[in-house]
Symmetry: D2
């Protein structure tokens, strides 16, 4: 019978000793140092390899001591805090295009990084690549320096090389000036949208005000299209391994399962830490019934559905015409949007609880406060935004296309 | 772009002509006739192969003219109506055990039919097997007559042999008398439970009263454990291919997808026909979010969740003890059951509709009437039954065990 | 230990009863009859499906009574004897191109039959297809009549329809006259080459004189390129299932293994029947070491290597130039061919036996006579032919190309 | 057409840069040094991982400076010369059983090393493991120190640690004395057999006299059962990557293909180096026809078939009885063995050449001399040994059993 509980301890030969890790070739670290030192427009990209290698201390020290600007991949976020003065996420497109040296710390040149190729990257960019997997080395573009190593020792040794050489990227350089200007101007655009609390709401206003209230150490789970993409830049990570999303292959339906796993981990290891699950309405539909599992296990997950009342990216003109002749099942939007939005928060009533429907920022603030205060089980907010809400205007068409 | 609509007709070479079917060896039909004619306690088992072969007319004529008693496999139900005087489902266990000749019409001796072996079958039973798949012939037990053929021509030719021979199984035989007595006594037991409308309700009372109201030609989709098993005997099929359930391998999570497919078929081909989806509460959890799909496509499916407030077969004593120490997430039952039952019907409120919570037969009758009258989209009934409701007492332990 | 011998008989439940076969729809047989009767230029193609179905008696009767011309696929050969007056193999190309009705008896329209398409077939040809596998019906081209059935009962029923209808294709028809003329003219061409016994020998001379001496009931195994292709038309089969070759996918290396299997079968079931294994020199190289197996098991297989001293189809001009500069390992031919031919027959000396090297027809006749008289184990003839020997001139380039 | 020759150079993006390798954790190297220094009965095992990593210089320096005794796995042979005074192969069983510390340099504890377990290993043995593959670390037995690294830098760093520490294992230690005594006594036993040149010959006599004549830098390819096992200890390797055999999974049939590959490599890169292919008679049968390929490509491979006239390990008593009644095809041995041995060397006559049949040591010496002098193409020696020849007596039954 498979349900019997085994009390005997696992025999020693089946236990797992700590895994020794691979170190880098010291000579290649020196080469990497030289290439870095020669850079006029250097850029560090921190990938989830750095998070998995638990190299956060080394990575933070490296960024701090070198004064290099950095970006993070979706699940590489938080290895170095999004609040670091060296984080130049708002200038991402410019940084990728103009950098002359890119240091990849456990990040890979796949579609998320536009394969490292022109026109998204400088055609002459020199790549310094540190990766645990030899098959990834020189992948997509040839690296100037390719290093096979676990990230933790490699980052530490590169940090030591930086310390020895006295290298510190000039804070007054043209590159830092340009990046900061670009960050500033993009932040202003985002801020304008964030402060636009008119209803129906837009993505930026929602995420901005959610961000203000989230516990600084919470685990953020996310999936969706615009919800995941915009939320990634608006919801901050200060800690490594605190963001779980649809990942390299964009797999939908994983959000609630990830949240359950994270919450069970927290229950046993960090009972005061919270899990926030930010879902697009379409993404939520893949496995929303897991709410019952969450309830039965009494996991205090806050589920936030960002609801633009449309499956697959809101409405566009063609779709709107189809709506008029009532033939399109991927949207539920009739003439008056807010009267007929899908009320996902009602799912809480399956368990005799109440969810939150929020159409305005004050409602959202009040509801999120209540949800965060409730540690007895799941809570849920259905925040209604405009079906025509979208990302901030993109100067680069490929940015959007590359996600398809 | 994958979303473009193609208006050109399919080139002729890619169209599918009608598939010619395989016929049986006429000599084997004669042999089958002889074995049938020699039977003292014959039994016909109609499988889903007969339904897929669309051999209902031939099968009904065969049963009618031969006066043979028959059973049906889960999805073989309805090829001959459950209301046929020859249907001896209530005497299933006795019929399998005592039959001396079994005629398999597209039914296979897998676990659903206890592999055709003793003690569930007579060890000396002679099997007449008609199947399209040669690998299935003589499978599990050796057949006395094995016939490779599509079911439709084989049944027709066997019917003709019966007609030629004048064979008609004696209605006054001991076998018919025993089967009828057993059916009668089992029906009385079921009837007693069906009429027990005390609350919390039991399975039989629910299904009996649902059955009274269902359209005679509706398509029944079902999945679950007890819900599917008991519902199979209580909800009648008069038409072939009108029952879709978890199938040979007992796959859970298929119910709502099956119902959507059936309803889309009906929309285009039989717009007045209704689809009823009967789900255990655990089964519903696998893909309950498909309710949103059903709503968006405005499919008039009636979803009936038979809710015993427990995942995996209600509660037993051990489980009840675990409930008391509040540690068991597979049930939500506290001291007062009805105050905390999972309110699946609330999912209708996601779309501004109301579902039905029913705790008594009158409530169920009223709600089902409303649901059947509503053809604009999905309707949903959450009928609460006792967590300790179970099947009628089984004389044969293996009957239950074999389902695991 | 895997080498223990089990003496107990196999339990009854693991024995295999005779497999009942599928029959055809009688109405489709009538349709086939009508289409056949309407044909002006009918053609039967007998495939290995007919051999596997053991329908030789029915097929012979059908050909005999209907007076239809027929072809056979490589392993369909012998179901009806190659010596039948209705066999029109020498007119194959013309028959395929001009036939208006083609009856496929277990033959499939794959690459061996040029996919049934123009220009190798008449674009308006009507196909009558009898096949056991429904997925093959209407494959490549749509059939006028497609019949799912085992070949044996289907052929028998078609024969009965022919008998009932009195159908007999007119021996004095234009079609028979044209086919016979074509056969005659092609046979003359072949005969001229067969009679050309100048050395180095050509394929046709070798096969013609081998054919004269082979036991009428021998099993012919063959693989190679020209050796298999030309041998197929020159070595006659009078019995079904007496030709084993590289098959539908042209797999090389199977010849000696097939010969071993056939010889072991004969040892136990038909001890006077002989197995002849006709190999191209390249084909023999794949698994020639199996000669040791044959010797150890004392199997009286006659192995005939038809040796054109070149791997992959002899030499052409380009190759010959490469030979001159001594750089081409796929041929061993220096200025004087016969002094350096690979002496495969020497492999017999591994076992203290002598093989036969034959360069002329008298040598070949003497050697083959000795080999056929020796029943103690393998015998081997290495017959040397011209490196430039090839097929008779082809009017249709595709005939050759389609083999690639 | 696949046979066209492409003259354009490969585009740069498809070229392969040098692969950077992983380095070890320096702290683990220190730990390894400490464990080594504490050993009373240390043992190094050099695996093919060291050969693939091209770490021969580092490995030789390490053995030389540390004075540690070592063994090699089959394809790890030659990384350090078999003639090294530190090689203790003749004392293999004792060394494995009694070592208290084992240093694995690219060797894995699979079946070839008896899974590292008692009774073949000391149950308390401490393992120091260096391997490139983290999944192999702690495999089968837990290592005291497990190091993930490419072998070359890890060996170099361990060597440096040895140099720094001044560690040198005491040549006068009990362990070295015991190992040398055991080597000496086993060498005497082997020598006795090697010097027994009575006919029919035994394995040791054959290999001893072959070894005396082989070029010191030749590549040895080998497969078979006793032929491969005994040949492994008798045929010496002085250079890394100069032994190719049936490998970890004991795959038969690879010998001639390996020899062809090695000879083509030598033709292009080391034209004076020779390839010797040592085959058991059974092994040769798998792909002996490749001799034709070798001849056509004019590769000067010396093929030595060590022929005990029996498939699968010669004859035993049971087999001998079966031979008498003439029923056993896996041996060809009649009363007088030498008159009927399989004459594999006759295969040379396929090409107008002569092979060598040798029954005595003088014949073998003369033949091998001739073969080594011939560089125009393949040469072949069929050396006949006694069907009852076997390994030297084994004190450990499992040694033999573990190979099955």
């Amino acid at each position: 019978m498979l349900q019997v509980r085994i009390e005997e301890p696992l025999p020693a030969q089946y236990t797992t000793p700590e895994i020794p890790v691979a170190y880098p070739d010291p000579a290649l670290i020196e080469q990497a140092m030289k290439v870095l030192a020669s850079a006029k427009r250097p850029l560090v990209i921190v990938g989830k390899g750095a998070a998995y290698a638990r190299s956060e201390r080394e990575t933070n020290d490296l960024i701090g001591r070198s004064n290099l600007p950095f970006l993070a991949t979706p699940m590489g976020k938080g290895v170095v805090s999004d609040l670091s003065p060296n984080f130049i996420g708002p200038a991402r497109s410019m940084a990728l295009q103009q950098a002359d040296v890119v240091l990849l710390l456990g990040a890979r040149l796949n579609w998320i990084l536009h394969f490292g190729r022109s026109p998204r990257f400088n055609a002459d960019v020199k790549v310094i690549q540190i990766d645990i997997c030899p098959e990834e080395l020189h992948n997509s573009v040839k690296s100037s320096v390719a290093i096979q190593s676990d990230l933790k020792p490699a980052t530490k040794m590169l940090l030591e090389a930086i310390a020895r050489s006295g290298f510190k990227f000039n804070d007054a350089s043209d590159w830092w000036r340009d990046l900061r200007r670009k960050c500033e101007s993009n932040r202003k655009g985002v801020q304008a949208m964030s402060m636009d609390v008119s209803t129906p709401l837009n993505y930026y206003a929602v995420f901005h005000h959610v961000q203000e209230m989230l516990p600084k150490d919470c685990i953020i789970v996310s999936e969706g299209a615009n919800t995941m993409d915009i939320g990634r830049s608006m919801l901050l990570n200060r800690l490594p391994r605190h963001r779980l999303d649809a990942g390299t292959f964009g797999t939908m339906g994983v959000g609630l399962g990830f949240a359950i796993a994270a919450a069970l981990y927290c229950r046993h290891h960090e009972p005061t830490k919270r899990v926030i699950c930010v879902e697009g309405d379409s993404a939520f539909g893949f496995s929303g019934m897991e709410l019952e599992t969450i309830y039965r296990y009494k996991l205090p997950i806050v589920i936030l559905v960002v609801n633009n009342s449309g499956i697959y990216g809101g409405v566009d003109e063609q779709l709107y015409n189809e709506i008029k002749d009532d033939s399109e099942p991927t949207t539920t939007i009739p003439p008056t949007i807010l009267s007929t939005v899908t009320r996902y928060e009602k799912m809480m009533e399956l368990f005799g609880k109440r969810g939150h429907l929020c159409k305005s920022i004050p409602e959202l603030q009040k509801s999120l406060k209540e949800c965060l205060a409730d540690t007895q089980g799941p809570t849920m907010i259905n925040v209604v935004i405009s079906p025509t809400a979208d990302r901030k205007p993109q100067t680069f068409a490929w940015l959007t296309e590359s996600k398809l």
